[in-house]
């Protein structure tokens, strides 16, 4: 069996060496974020500074990357989270991952710290480190243009250079945004990493794989979600759905409904500004928006950006939203964390606590302020530290919208309490994707589980966290899993009695899902309707992956990440949400519209087989084969 080959790059000495992953570790952790978490756990001591010289950054791919399977161009960055101090895994759909694999390495491990700004190039298995020279200081677009077009690039912008704590790394026009991926590269003084090569990935059973890929692509293209809704409106299409179910954060998560949300919805974007849709490599879903900003054809906004630069700061200008989105890409900033921090600063001003010249409903001066945040100019340097830091300095902890330090995504958890539980328990902080993404079942999808009931939510959250973890670690985009809701329900529509009945039944299926989690070892089947990823992974690697063992794989990864978090000092007490979400009802007349974490967390811990404090039990770890 061919095991993944990594390269350890030492920036102090500017040397690199080959590092082969052991077979047993490969079988257990496969690749991507899971293998990254294991390696980070093994390679770093506890309590290091994420931006210090001892920090390790792992950029790796997964077995499916570059094979041509649908939605499989995603690579992963794992490092110590700049915002939370726990684990960080940032996923990106740019070309870099595929080309790094073609260049002969499944991943690179960056150690040490360069004293001069540098560029790492990985070409045909040869790694060279050169000085960045004039590239330092340039924006992400200019930096990428300095390299040949066919190269895969991963660069940082001025925000990363100035160690903005939520800076992003950019590959092509796709972004590894969350947790401060740009800041950790900036701290190591890496301006760019480029890769090129022509090696092909190994596929265990080529013939069956090709057949299965065709089948899967056909399925994705015929499914109403991945074949119509996402290509037509992108993820921005969720704005109107979230608004209809009171799940659209408005006025820094104070409300869940914005009366003018239509002005920044995916439908409006598609009608007025969209040039065409586009995609990452190898993706048949094609959810990327192409829009025109100042006459330039650039990448359009995702749902989070629309929600956060729109209703969450009470703005309805599509023009300024598109410009801010493009500007963030150029500067290398995470739009979620940036916009959420800005909304927090706006509320600070509203309450008369601190004044950063930003106010609700005014997006005119934001372009200028974002520019200043990126270079940490004057008082705006405070905004570059994220909302947790701000709330500790200025106060207002009850409305600093973060969990563990990472800002929440654009789903209002009081109208989808399962998502709230996901935010609180997610290993990398307030992340919707690492948190199980229950909003899709509760508020923004066609199915409508009872969004206010806590029943069944812990079980569903645990199940989907595991499943999404495994999908991500095997190299697929999580959107490829959006097709698991049966197509027939989309055709019937959300208000048909069958769809409503399914939603209602799902609300009481907690024990069913718990039983399912318990039965994982015997679920030895694969179907294109549930997790086609498992069958694809089986054909690529030759390892026995079935629906059950695939979800089990995710469970192992989730526990591994949790273990890392606990070693770094996070505890069960950090599984929390701001008071605004847990104590103040969203609808003053309905006391049920709060996230009752105190009810859900004990059940969730029990399902996960963790102890009362939320720490993974020794027995659980032993069962999953994790060595602490």
């Amino acid at each position: 069996m061919r095991t993944p080959v990594y390269a350890i790059i030492d920036l102090n000495t500017r040397t690199s060496e080959r590092y082969e992953i052991e077979e047993s570790m490969y079988r257990k952790y496969i690749g991507g974020k899971m293998l990254g978490a294991r390696l980070l756990y093994d390679l770093t001591p506890a309590g290091i500074d994420p931006l210090g010289p001892d920090a390790v950054v792992i950029i790796n791919t997964s077995p499916a990357n570059g094979t041509g399977a649908p939605c499989s161009s995603r690579f992963n960055m794992t490092f110590k989270n700049v915002l939370t101090g726990g684990i960080a895994s940032s996923n990106c759909g740019g070309q870099f991952g595929v080309l790094m694999k073609r260049a002969g390495y499944d991943g690179i491990i960056l150690r040490g710290q360069s004293d001069m700004p540098c560029v790492i190039s990985i070409v045909d298995k040869q790694i060279t480190i050169t000085d960045a020279g004039e590239l330092w200081g340039k924006d992400t677009e200019e930096t990428q243009q300095a390299f040949p077009k066919i190269y895969g690039k991963l660069v940082i912008g001025p925000a990363g250079e100035h160690l903005v704590r939520y800076a992003a790394a950019v590959s092509g026009e796709r972004v590894a945004g969350r947790c401060g991926a740009g800041a950790v590269l900036g701290a190591k003084k890496i301006k760019a990493i480029v890769a090129y090569g022509t090696q092909r990935p190994q596929i265990h059973n080529k013939k069956k794989f090709a057949k299965y890929v065709s089948k899967w692509v056909k399925f994705l293209r015929n499914h109403p979600m991945t074949g119509e809704a996402l290509p037509n409106y992108g993820s921005a299409g969720l704005v109107s759905k979230a608004n209809a179910t009171n799940a659209l954060p408005t006025h820094n998560f104070k409300y869940g409904h914005f009366k003018d949300a239509n002005a920044v919805s995916g439908e409006t974007l598609a009608d007025t500004r969209l040039l065409r849709n586009s995609s990452c490599i190898s993706c048949p879903i094609r959810c990327e928006r192409r829009v025109s900003v100042d006459g330039k054809d650039v990448k359009g906004p995702e749902y989070e950006t629309c929600g956060f630069f729109g209703p969450n700061i009470d703005c309805i200008s599509m023009e300024s939203l598109l410009r801010l989105n493009y500007q963030c890409d150029l500067l290398g900033l995470d739009t979620i964390s940036l916009a959420s921090t800005l909304a927090f600063a706006m509320e600070l001003k509203e309450n008369g606590v601190a004044d950063f010249d930003v106010s609700f409903g005014n997006s005119e001066n934001l372009t200028e302020i974002v520019e200043r945040i990126a270079v940490r100019e004057g008082k705006y340097s405070d905004l570059a530290n994220g909302s947790k830091w701000l709330s500790e300095k200025y106060g207002g902890k009850e409305y600093a919208m973060h969990s563990k330090g990472l800002e929440l995504a654009s789903y209002e958890p009081r109208s989808s309490v399962g998502m709230g539980l996901g935010y609180a328990t997610s290993n990398r902080g307030g992340c919707h994707l690492n948190g199980g993404y229950l909003a899709l079942l509760e508020s923004v999808g066609v199915l409508s589980m009872n969004a206010l009931s806590t029943s069944a939510k812990p079980a569903f959250t645990a199940f989907f966290q595991n499943a999404l973890e495994a999908i991500s670690a095997s190299g697929f985009c999580l959107f490829s899993a959006q097709s698991f809701v049966p197509a027939i329900l989309f055709k019937l529509g959300p208000h048909h009695r069958v769809t409503r009945a399914v939603g209602k039944i799902a609300t009481h299926l907690g024990f069913g899902v718990r039983a399912l989690l318990w039965m994982l070892p015997i679920l030895r089947f694969n179907t294109v309707y549930l997790f086609p990823h498992a069958e694809t992974l089986r054909l690529i690697t030759g390892l026995p992956f079935y629906t059950g063992s695939f979800v089990r794989l995710g469970e192992r990864g989730y526990n591994m990440e949790r273990l890392y978090n606990f070693r770094e000092g996070l505890t069960g007490k950090d599984d929390s949400l701001p008071d605004r979400l847990t104590k103040t009802p969203q609808d003053a007349n309905n006391p049920k519209t709060v996230v009752r974490l105190d009810q859900m967390l004990p059940v969730y811990y029990k399902i996960r087989a963790w102890d009362e404090t939320g720490a993974p039990r020794k027995r659980t770890l032993r069962k999953l084969g994790i060595k602490a």
């Binding site: 041509g68 692509v217 293209r221 065409r276 490599i281 094609r286």
Partner: protein, 140 residues
């Protein structure tokens, strides 16, 4: 098996300009060298070499073929999912994803929009995950 350039090479640069993976390097008017780590055995160098100085993977001499007889990719638009893998492999930039035919059209596919640039390397056909691309003779 990678290709090889023999001593007959006079350094005309024709192959280096056309190589789809930038595997050929050298100084003009001197013998060029193929980077064996990168060569994908597409045969473009052999077809274009005016001196007949390229050996293929089996060691036999490549015959030069007039450009008008090179095969061109044909896309089956019913199967193509516009995933863009072929476009990323095509260094000649002969392929692209078609533009929507009307506002809001999502049924796009790969298309050969600059046939003159195509070097007939076959990387698009080889890497298409759904088998939607085939190289075929172009009728004049």
């Amino acid at each position: 098996m990678p290709y090889f350039i023999t001593g007959d090479c006079n350094g005309c640069t024709a192959c280096a300009k056309q190589c789809p993976v930038l595997a050929i390097d050298g100084t003009p008017k001197e013998r060029y060298v193929i980077n064996i780590r990168r060569c994908v055995s597409c045969g473009v160098c052999g077809r274009i070499c005016p001196k007949g100085a390229v050996l293929d993977g089996h060691g036999s001499l490549c015959r030069s073929v007039p450009r008008s007889q090179w095969q061109k990719p044909v896309v089956d638009t019913k199967i193509c999912s516009a995933c863009g893998i072929c476009v990323t492999w095509c260094r000649a930039e002969a392929l692209r994803i078609s533009l929507p035919s009307f506002h809001g059209d999502i049924h796009v596919f790969a298309e050969l929009y600059e046939p003159n640039k195509c070097v007939s390397c076959g990387l698009c056909e080889e890497n298409c995950p759904v088998g939607a691309i085939h190289l075929s003779e172009v009728r004049a």
